[in-house]
């Protein structure tokens, strides 16, 4: 083989490299859009809402969902639910490891009283910035 003759590059090498380039540009594009949007410093806006209530042998389960409306990711999110606020109230709480920015996470609260026949209050009481 003559020295000046380059080894031919197989078509698969071009295809693999092209796929890599596309994958890189795609990831960079998606992440770059977030970088340009740049609302990482925004205050997290956390909304807790009831998904469904179910009676189980160990109590009434309230499944909830926490939505983070801002871009800032939060950790150790504490959710507290209260039935019948006042002297007769029953309080349960749960914590969620992570709610990434503009994402949601789910959890459950367990009550002894039936939340369907009472007033149920659900709110996020705190979080940690990771």
């Amino acid at each position: 083989m003559a020295k000046q003759q380059r080894d031919p590059v197989p078509p698969l090498e071009w295809a693999a490299a092209a796929f890599g380039l596309v994958a890189a540009l795609l990831l960079l594009g998606i992440i770059g859009r977030e970088a340009v949007a740049g609302n990482d410093e925004s205050v997290p806006v956390l909304v807790a809402e009831v998904e469904r209530v179910a009676a189980t042998p160990t109590g009434h389960v309230v499944e909830f969902r926490v939505r983070n409306l801002a871009g800032q990711t939060v950790a150790a999110v504490q959710v507290e639910g209260t039935i019948n606020p006042g002297p007769e109230e029953e309080v349960s709480s749960a914590s969620i490891d992570y709610v990434p920015g503009r994402s949601q996470a789910s959890g459950g609260l367990i009550f002894t009283n039936d939340p369907r026949s009472a007033e149920l209050e659900l709110r996020v009481t705190g979080y940690e910035i990771p």
Partner: protein, 285 residues
Amino acid sequence: MTARTATKGQAHGRAATTNRQYAVALGRAFAGAVIFSVPLLMTMEMWWLGFYLEPWRLLQFTLANMVLLYFLSRVAGFEESHNWLDDILDAFAAYAVAVAAAAGWLWLIGVIRPHMPLAEIAGMVAVQAVPASFGAMIGAKLLGEGDEIERQEQWRDTYSGRMFLMLAGALFLGFTVAPTEEMILIAYQMSAWQGLALVILSIAVLHSILYLVGFAGQKARSEPGGAVGLLRHSLPGYAIAVCGCLYILWSFGRVDGSDPHHIAMSLAVLGFPASIGAGIARIVV
């Protein structure tokens, strides 16, 4: 060029010139990506980094990874490469393999879920693609088929090439522990004296591996050890390993809000596995 034995050297050894040979090389890259990054793909901190790191940090980390891949292809790689174009193509091919392996695996183990926003998925895959593409590049070596490839990569044997190899080796071992919470916790637990002892131990271990211990696969060394070797290779190697550690810790946001003392302690901790990695660089990369 002399003809090599066609039966053995068909798929590996020289640069792939047919689709079939390149497919075998890609398979090797895929195996390397999976072998190296499975522990990290199964590490919670690595998933979380994907969505809590600032986007600009992910961007610079991914771009730096591309540069690293190019130079890795120059010293090793999953197939022989003879010119800059081949090195660039191989770098992107390694990235392709890494993204496919990382995305596929994260989906399979339920880390990537259907309702996740695209940016979150992209972040997770981008973080994992860094170690996975590194693994893809050294796949041939991990599978014990690196010798033929290396013989062609002359940059390996220059001083700058050796220094780069030490950086690659440091990242090889450092990367597997850097994302864990334990790195920071260990640094908090240690006293300043223990930190100093760890730095000295790290340099001693690196120097011993480079000059005293002869591992199989290490090329015989004709250079002098002692003070000259310490100044010429071991100390620069340690410095490079620590710089690599600082870069990883900074990219992962681990040094934010820390005072210089705690940053130095974290570097002393992470510097230990990184020094061992720098020492065994010629065996693993």
